[in-house]
Amino acid sequence: MAWLITTLIVAPVVGAFLVGAMRNYARSVALAFNLITAIGAFLLWRSFDCSLSGLQLVERHSWIPAIGAEYLVGVDGLSLLLVILTSLVFPFALLAQSRPAGDRGFCALMLIMQAALYGTFTAQNFVLWFLFYEMSLIPAFLLIKIWGGEKRDRAATKFFLYTFLGSVAMLLAFLGIYFAKGTFDFAGLGELAKTGDLLTGNFTWLAFAGIFLGLAVKVPLFPFHTWLPDAYETAPTGVSMVLTGALSKMGVYGFIRLLLPLFPNEIKILGPWLLTLAVCSIVIAPLAAWAQSDLKRMVAYLSINHLGYCMLGLFAVTATAARPLVEMQAALSGVFMQIFNHGITAAALFYFVGLLEQRRGLRGIDDFGGLMQRAPLFCGWMSVAMFSSLGLPGLNGFIGEFLIFKGSFAIAASFTAVAVLGLLFTAIVFMRVMQSLFSGPLIETGVAFADLRANEKWVVVPVTLLMFAIGIVPQFLFNIFNSTVVQMARLFS
Amino acid sequence: MTPTLQLFLIISTALFSIGLLAALSRRHAIFILIGIELMLAAANLNFIAFWRFSPEPHQPTGVLVAIFSIAIAAAEAAVGLALVIAIYRHYHTTSVDKLDQLKG
């Protein structure tokens, strides 16, 4: 079944060309290809042996031998998790997006982005990985630039240039590593780093800085996050969902795959500073969200906060001296859970904000009031998403956050103690939203506000059920990556 | 006074100079043509003179060259006149001052 991964990567591209070639039915074709990828992801999950820890379903071809570039794809638990997440987020994003003008281009670009994401999450060779990594950037840029809201030019350019700058820095750093060591293979580089032979002297720091910058911008980690609120605010609903649901995971994935295994010593030296950045993301982002009046911007800031939890867990696992294996496993599992959960929940939140915008063309927090009286279903389901996002037990958000905090508290107690403030501020923000939108007297914008329609329920209900399922019986997700967690914890210790 | 090569050369030089002067100074195309004909005549004179005073005056080489040259001159005069007429028809003038189409 080794061809499965390649199929996953190629299918959306084929779909994109088909969408481009056909005059009509763009949305249906895109959705059909998403069905194919969903089936592919499911088959991948089925044929993946969860009890093994290494790469599986590996496909390897020589590509450009001169520069050590290979076509090398394979999945471990983490990759599989992200592939599944991508396969979930994209169809919902396509369903969520109201048909814009030029729907053909929109669908085609979305499909290309999807292919790029599959590639990013499965490639095991830097050149290939970087190719996909950058390939995702261009559709995203175009999607924001063409179909975005007001200020789209500025936001798209900022998004593109900022992330591209990071990518260039990372590419340079990797070229440096390649010239020093002659390999682009993730596994090989990891082995070298483990024995301390990767790089020496100031050059190490330069390479570290380059890769760190590239990934920190992508995640984004405070204070490299300022492109995110603009981009997420401006992007059309479906693109916001994809950006936050899948694209933002590329940064975290990069941290786990590249930076943390390759530069263990540097991270240890910078440990407290990195943890501080993560804590800043966690605490400052929801504070800033509190001060926003635009709902989309608010959700964007909370997205920074949630990815901050991931970074806290990762830095705690790698950046400190004394690390019991149990706690590392807890933190890593928490990070993986959080990656998945944030993808689902934040996408759902963007979807709901998108519905508000679609119905009334407004998304200010003060533009609505008393919606509960007109649209109880809408408010109810949106509340579930918000409670999931603020980490209410019984919903998916809690599991990941609990494990991250458990792991990082044991390793870096003081940082974690400050970070729990993020939980409070997130709650304050969502309480403010709920109070402002749902309660109080019905104001004029909500008078003819339609409750959830049948087609919208098709998006909302499965996603919410998934949230409940992960919150109550999360074992099925843990099974995917437990062996990988064990292996990775050993690798980092 | 015996005719010497010197004398012929002086005459032909004078003839050439007169032809040149005519070609350079006259503005009328016909006169320039006539000047050129004079210069050709000077050249022919030179051919004949050099032949006559060459070590082997028995071979008729000089005469042949001169005849050939005269034939070319005749042809040239014909073409030149035809050109002048064509130019006149086109520009209604034969003054070379007005004809500066070749100006760079």
Partner: protein
């Protein structure tokens, strides 16, 4: 049977939770089905609770646990479980019984509400979540249920969502309790880290058993205090008590449920549940963490009783009395009287639910009038309510003999008397007893005795009042309160509302018989000892002393509050206003913590927009400036050089072109000169 119920203990919270979700999926118009489902769910839970209660009766100190793996992360298993012990069993019976009464009462109270079925869904959810707290054998499971209780309280307090004040109160409750929960969360993480498990009891390996406690060691104090933060938030202890009086914005049955049986009890229950952590390393029953518990409890109890003296909203008085009673329970736990505290918790559950439902009955009878100044003389109009309310008041004031509240309060005072650290809590609690008697007497006098006071409205004609009533009941309860409701239109509540009152009153009286010192069965049951009968213990100096205090308090109240308006307000207006405004704690928080956080938020936003993004823009600007510079260099450096060469070439070309005059004679002349020159050159060179 006993093992079956232990394994399936989860059914007790699951049944109400399931009922809640089923009701939620019903259409709003199926009102009868909704209420029936909720009540049946509660009855089933009650039956299960009794089933679970029975086995705990046979064996003193019965404790059965059922643990299982929730999920596995890495190669670690996270285990949770539930347990059945006297504490859990007693709490379950109390919650389900009180809950059942409240559910039935709600059928009458909420009869006119358009979101009737949603209300029952929330109530069931609340009940289920609270039962989850009680059965948990794992701090994690407890925390999960704890948060769900918080969610349910949020939903219920903000039930009349179209009222801005209700939504604000709900938000305040959620956030305030979450502040406490942060501490709880950290304490849980710390505990997990130190002991390696969150199970309370796990055949010797649990965190509350010897091995676990040994592993926790010296950090127990901090862990206990952090966990106590959660209890402070949930149980409305100072300084996080501010949400509790505001929570009165919810419908009255909700107030009863939150303030009597469930949510606020959770904090006290939590402390009792993890008591081994608090008492770890105790010398003479005193640890730093317990001393903190006592201090918080004392401050809360006194402060709340004082504030209760100066409130005019019938529910707010009860709310503050709840806060003060919870403080009392905390004091009891802190001084070592765990059983006493829990006994009071359970007795309080009965009589406070009774009082709240009584207040609800009054409010319902007066068409949503809550100001006690506009009541009075209701004793004849609402006899059942009056009688049951009086029983509740006796309980709360601490009259012993037939009232359970009296005995439990006695027990608590007894425990405080033996505290080694300071006698101060004991005396302050005695003062609290007087205050409690005082404000309850005041309330009774205001509400039930005397004559109807709002004569201003007596002139309203019945026809008008009917229309006003119709407007309030059919449309929406939240519409602006018109004061067009004459008190003579008041009526006794229907049977569906009075029956729960009677049941609760009976419970609070019957419960007294297992609390007396003569046969302290319940005390022994909680402590896992066999109970002895000894009637001589009834004769105690303490008993008479506190009886005298209660009688004095009630008598004093009678003397003071016979005359209305409030004599205290006239005698000490400044003090009264201070108390009436809840000691300005809310305003203090508004001015300090909340303003500060708002400023922080603004600052974060500002920094983000201008500083961090400014830095990015600065770098972008530098890039742009470099671009401009490079363009300038291109334009004026490189381009200029090329241009210069180009123009030079062109000039030279023009120069040459000038020779091409087109004048044939010029060319001819040039040839001639050239020839001449060649000639000269030839001649010269030879």
């Amino acid at each position: 049977m006993s093992s079956w119920i232990v394994t399936n203990l989860w059914l007790i919270p699951a049944v109400p939770l399931g009922a809640s979700f089923i009701i939620l999926s019903l259409v709003n118009s199926r009102r009868r089905t909704a209420a029936a489902l909720a009540i049946i769910g509660q009855i089933v839970a009650f039956v299960f609770a009794i089933t679970a209660f029975l086995p705990t009766l046979y064996l003193p100190g019965f404790r059965a646990i059922h643990n299982f793996t929730w999920f596995t992360f890495g190669d670690q298993a996270l285990r949770i479980g539930w347990m059945l012990d006297p504490l859990a069993a007693a709490m379950m019976v109390m919650i389900t019984l009180v809950g059942l009464c409240i559910f039935v009462f709600s059928v009458g109270y909420m009869a006119d509400d358009k979101n009737f079925s949603r209300f029952f869904s929330y109530l069931s959810f609340f009940s289920g979540a609270m039962l989850g707290v009680v059965i948990a054998n794992s701090l994690l499971l407890l925390f999960v249920s704890w948060e769900l209780v918080g969610l349910a309280s949020y939903l219920l307090i903000g039930f009349w969502i179209e009222r801005p004040s209700a939504a604000a109160a709900a938000r305040k409750a959620f956030i305030t309790t979450r502040i406490g929960d942060l501490g709880f969360f950290l304490g849980m993480l710390w505990l997990y880290h130190n002991s390696g498990t969150l199970l309370f009891y796990d055949q010797g390996r649990g965190c509350l058993e010897n091995a676990g406690l040994l592993a926790i060691g010296a950090s127990a104090t901090f862990i206990a205090l952090l966990i106590f933060c959660g209890a402070v938030g949930k149980s409305g202890q100072f300084p996080l008590h501010v949400w509790l009086p505001d929570a009165m914005e919810g419908p009255t049955p909700v107030s009863a449920l939150i303030h009597a049986a469930t949510m606020v009890a959770a904090g006290v229950f939590l402390v009792a549940r993890v008591y081994p952590l608090f008492s770890l390393g105790a010398v003479n029953g005193v640890t730093p963490s317990l001393t903190v518990v006592v201090s918080v409890g004392v401050v809360t109890a006194l402060m709340a009783s004082l504030i209760a003296l100066a409130q005019f909203d019938i529910k707010r008085i009860l709310a503050y009395s709840t806060v003060s009673q919870l403080g009392l329970m905390m004091v009891s736990l802190g001084v070592g009287g765990v059983a006493a505290g829990i006994m009071h918790l359970i007795a309080h559950g009965f009589f406070k639910a009774l009082l709240f439902l009584g207040a609800g009955s009054v409010i319902h009878g007066l068409h949503h009038e809550q100001d006690i100044r506009k009541m009075g003389g209701l004793r004849w109009i609402m006899p059942v309510t009056f009688l049951t309310y009086a029983i509740g008041m006796m309980n709360l004031s601490g009259v012993p003999f037939f009232f359970s509240g009296g005995w439990t309060k006695e027990e608590i005072l007894h425990s405080t008397a033996h505290w080694r650290v300071s006698p101060l809590p004991h005396y302050l609690m005695l003062a609290g007893v007087i205050l409690t008697a005082l404000y309850m007497t005041r309330q009774i006098i205001y509400v039930f005795l005397g004559s109807a006071r709002n004569t201003d409205f007596q002139s309203v004609r019945p026809a008008e009042s009917h229309s006003a009533e119709a407007a309030t009941t059919t449309e929406n309860i939240s519409v602006v309160r018109t004061d067009q409701r004459p008190v003579f239109h008041a009526h006794e509540s229907p049977r569906v509302m009075t029956m729960p009152l009677i049941v609760l009153a009976l419970c609070s009286i019957l419960f007294a018989f297992v609390l007396t010192p003569a046969w302290p069965w319940f005390h022994a049951y909680l402590n896992g000892e066999p109970a002895r009968v000894d009637f001589t213990l009834l004769i105690q100096p303490m008993l008479f002393f506190s009886l005298a205090l209660v009688a004095g308090g009630i008598g004093l109240g009678w003397l003071i509050y016979r005359r209305i308006p409030d004599p205290l307000a006239r005698a000490r207006p400044g003090l009264f206003r201070f108390l009436e405004n809840k000691m300005w704690v809310d305003e203090f928080y508004e001015q300090t913590v909340i303003t500060f956080s708002r400023i922080l938020a603004r600052l974060a936003d500002w920094l983000d927009r201008y500083f961090w993004d400014g830095l990015v823009r600065l770098f972008a600007g530098i890039g742009q400036a470099l671009g401009v510079l490079s363009k300038g260099f291109d334009d004026h450096g490189i381009n200029a050089g090329v241009d210069e060469t180009m123009s030079g070439t062109r000039g030279f070309g023009r120069l040459i072109a000038a020779a091409h005059s087109g004048q044939i004679q010029t060319y001819l002349g040039a040839i001639a000169i050239g020839m001449l020159l060649l000639l000269v050159l030839y001649a010269w060179l030879g």
